[in-house]
């Protein structure tokens, strides 16, 4: 049997078995022969389908490009957020020059901008989750195109991860997330 990939090994095995079948065939042997021929055709079809998919492109360009784009998104939002925060700090420094009412209004507006700027952290954490999912897909595609052999086990938490690491899930989707009120109620239930 050749050393090649598992699909090649299956094809070779089918050919080898077919080669041993000669002379008059029993009904069972004929049925087996039919099954083996079907299996051989199936393997050939699967190979050409995988070739047609050009899955190598996924790992060679698509996934690295996608993760680079996402990294750039995080970088751009961080730069823009810092610009916004610079501007807010300038505005706050002007408060002392304003009358009390205007200073209060400006302070309130700046606070709302600070609160909104936390989007950079939340979106950054969400994008990090997507990047890690893409990397898991990349590893699996590499395993499938390399051979039909064993797939890497799902990307998960390390066995020796601390409780803090195991529970670091990142932001939940809005429909699943607990509100501050939910969390306050949960904490109060311990008292």
């Amino acid at each position: 049997m050749p050393d090649g990939n598992p699909p090649d090994q299956i094809e070779a095995a089918v050919r080898a078995v077919l080669g041993t079948l000669s002379g008059d065939l029993t009904v069972t042997e004929a049925a087996l022969l039919g099954e083996l021929e079907a299996l051989g055709r199936e393997v050939k079809r699967a190979k050409s389908e995988i070739a047609a998919l050009s899955v190598e492109d996924i790992n060679e360009s698509h996934i690295p490009a996608a993760t680079d784009e996402l990294d750039a998104v995080v970088e751009h939002t961080a730069t823009a957020t810092n610009e916004i925060l610079d501007a807010c700090e300038t505005l706050e420094s002007l408060q002392s020059k304003l009358d009390e009412g205007s200073a209060q209004a400006l302070g309130n507006a700046v606070t709302r901008i600070y609160e909104a700027c936390s989007f950079q952290d939340i979106t950054g954490q969400r994008i990090a989750k997507v990047v890690s999912a893409l990397k898991a897909i990349e590893a699996r595609v590499a395993a499938v195109t390399g051979s039909f052999g064993s797939l890497p086990s799902a990307v998960g938490k390390r066995a020796d991860a601390t409780e803090g690491e195991q529970l670091a899930n990142g932001p939940q989707l809005p429909t699943n997330a607990s509100s501050q009120a939910d969390i306050d109620a949960l904490l109060a239930s311990f008292d």
Partner: protein, 126 residues
């Protein structure tokens, strides 16, 4: 409430550190130091004198929960008020933080009023 106490804010996102620092400034807390993960925070806590820790959860190499456990296990630091500010909003996270001795828990995104209220509650009880 002593607003001159030293506050340590811990987050791996620089923008979040800056936001929290600015919100604390509005609340007249001017003595604020920063750390970008649990390990850096722990060494600052051990060498400094902090009256309040405000920490994120999801950081490497040491998470906020692991930092909290270290703080509660340290004879000198164990009574330091510790507020978690995190996007981790699952019940299991809140329960784990509570069991580890968190003083209060704020979910991101949060508003300035929530931060003020929790600080008052925590320092009032300190």
């Amino acid at each position: 409430m002593d607003k001159n106490l030293n506050v340590l804010i811990v987050d791996d996102y620089k923008t979040m550190l800056r936001i929290i620092r600015n919100l604390l400034k509005q609340l007249e807390f001017d003595n604020v130091e920063e750390a970008s993960d649990g390990q850096e925070a722990l060494s600052k806590l051990r060498t400094g004198n902090f009256g309040l820790v405000i920490s994120d959860w999801n950081m490497a190499p040491m998470t906020g929960l692991d930092l909290l456990k270290e703080v509660r296990a340290d004879a000198r630091l164990k009574d330091t008020p510790f507020i978690m500010i995190t996007a981790e909003s699952k019940t299991e996270n809140v329960v784990a933080a509570k069991q580890a001795g968190v003083s209060n828990y704020i979910v991101k995104p949060f508003n300035a009023e929530t931060l003020r209220g929790k600080i008052e509650k925590v320092l009032g009880n300190a």
